[in-house]
Symmetry: C2
Subunit: 351 residues, 2 copies
DNA sequence: CTGAAAGCGCTTACAG
DNA sequence: CTGAAAGCGCTTACAG
């Protein structure tokens, strides 16, 4: 029963050893252990072990004004992009004695405002985390222009953005080099002989949606390839459904396309759905490139050519950046990770 | 900068309104608000809002001996089975004012003891969570006989198991009905005309590995079908690689099989890999059934026939069970969720 | 090297 | 209905 929980405290240990609680406190903490006589420290540690004592970190946090807790806000843990990021975050936090409190801002797809859980909800989540005294925040939910961030700034809490960043300066972030990612995709398609290449962009209020679209245009320009207005369409969300719908639009408005670069893998998979429904063969009738290289896209039919993003590293670097910021180091720069192209079977020369 | 964080406390609000902190405390908490005069409560709330005050939950927790924090231990957040469970947990916790602290016990595959992160690591994780004063634990990592649970019992902390359970009694758990799941799979295959059906089991120290194997044998017996010893093999872990290796063993030791029931989808996908490498067609030469219905298995080639488990519900029910236990309700029963068979294209009549 | 004291920010009997 | 006091379990100047 919860009510019966035996709580052993520092004063139990102190009593057993015959010292003052403050001595117990000093002996327990490796940082201050040196202040205590060697044999006393040994006896304290032994007594603690025998009683099963561990310092109550809530109490310690109250006193030191640190919770050793980090809030991690994700748009949707169910999206395969985020677990590896979270894993990376956890690994480095754990090594430093921190723990993540994960808050899911809610499913993205199927929402009234697909692509972005409403700002109200996202603000509430951040407020709650702050009330819980998190020492910092890692946000994977930010918009290019995001009211939630002004709240964070007002609260003066250390923040690092990951995957999606903001354009409001002053926040550090870890992202993939979308410019380069799109160049890799477009160059590959161009090398295969494609000239009419379309793009399904992600929601433009997200940095990835906007940035990849820019990257696409730039890469096409470098190849001397035109991008007529109807060769680009914006998906309502980063979801398979939205990808299918976007592809249908493209099929109607730009019938001459021989290849599509999707802003992420889910969108590319929706592309597959639409192509199949239209009786078109991939890559025979249409080449498709994704972005992310999420798990299992090597097993879909056909295996997806995609831009691999280093999600795990995004997580570790974001956590490191945050920890440094908490330690008082200067903030305000972005870390840009270099993606790779993974060529599989969804791309081929145009017929 | 972290050092500059402005902390507004109850006494700031009290000063502003001209009341005592205890009145602020009562007014802030909906439970005790009734004890305060209506207009005073209003003024407190207004002042709190204007100052951006939210009670410090660390301090409150210290006083009330509750952290409103739940430890969630997963074997691997990167395994697509767990995100929906976590999401379910989060949803109900959040509604009740709790927050999950997610601890990843580490990758399963590729470990010395594949399938089970070493007990030492798992114990450390639980110890840390307890030191953080979590009010309860949800474990998705338990073994059929698990030393970590004796630790939990010693600490008298509320625990609910999810997905994987233990055979040591006294712990509540939420699981899928593996008996039924396997019967669905075997009956489907038998109806297609298969008589020689093999099984790739999960690690037998996990309840899912053991339970699905039992379910397989029982369903086969009910169909009057024999299960020769070499028609069953145990995978080293729930991973695609282990599934490939297990399939290779089966292909050698039981060449007459026309169908394989895998204990989960990852294993089934490894099965695809091995079949392809051996130049065998699925479902032409070999039908394959998975278990879980994880995301994207409808898009692999061929789309996978599998047993769908209600992961999201597993999470919500586990959280509810835990909350009830924390509230002092009796514990010690399992919740068994009913799975469904999803027939896709990896199963067909034998040639 | 160690003890005594104060205080982190709350909540909750206890008076009135 | 409200205030004053005590105390949750730590940590850390401050003495000695």
């Amino acid at each position: 029963m919860a009510s019966e929980r035996s709580r052993v405290t520092a004063s139990d240990v102190a009593k057993l050893v015959g010292v003052h609680v403050s001595t117990v406190s000093r002996a327990m903490n490796p940082q201050t252990r040196g202040l205590v006589a060697g044999d006393v420290a040994q006896r304290v540690l032994a007594a603690a072990a025998s009683l099963g004592y561990a310092p109550n970190s809530l109490a310690a946090g109250l006193r030191t004004r640190r919770s050793f807790t980090i809030g991690v806000v994700l748009p949707d843990i169910t999206n395969p992009v985020f677990p590896p990021i979270l894993r990376g975050i956890q690994e480095v936090l754990e090594a430093e004695g921190y723990v993540p409190i994960v808050a899911d801002a809610g499913p993205e797809a199927g929402r009234p405002e697909a692509g972005r859980p409403e700002a109200g909800r996202r603000e509430t989540v951040v407020e709650r985390l702050i009330a819980r005294q998190v020492d910092g925040l890692i946000l994977a939910t930010s918009l290019r222009h995001d009211p939630v961030l002004t709240l964070c700034r007002a609260r003066q809490i250390p923040v690092v953005l990951v995957n999606r960043v903001t354009e409001d300066s002053g926040f550090s972030g870890v992202v993939s080099d979308d410019q380069r990612g799109m160049k890799l995709a477009v160059d590959h398609l161009a090398a295969l002989g494609h000239r009419s290449i379309g793009h399904i962009s992600g929601p433009l209020e997200l940095s990835t949606g906007h940035g990849r679209l820019q990257g696409f245009r730039q890469a096409m320009a470098q190849q001397g390839l035109a991008v007529p207005a109807d060769a680009v369409t914006t998906a309502a969300a980063y979801s398979r459904d939205a990808g299918r719908e976007a592809t249908n639009r493209l099929l109607t408005q730009a019938p001459g396309l021989t290849a599509i670069v999707a802003a992420n893998d889910l969108l590319a998979l929706g592309c597959y759905d639409a192509l199949a429904a239209a009786g078109l063969d991939c890559p025979g009738d249409m080449s498709v490139v994704g972005h992310n290289d999420m798990p299992l896209v090597d097993m879909v039919d056909p295996p997806l050519t995609t831009v691999r993003i280093r999600h795990h590293e995004m997580g570790t670097e974001a956590a490191r950046l945050l920890l440094r910021q908490i330690a008082g180091a200067a903030e305000g720069f972005d870390l840009v990770l270099r993606p790779d192209l993974i060529v599989r079977a969804s791309t081929a020369p145009p017929r």
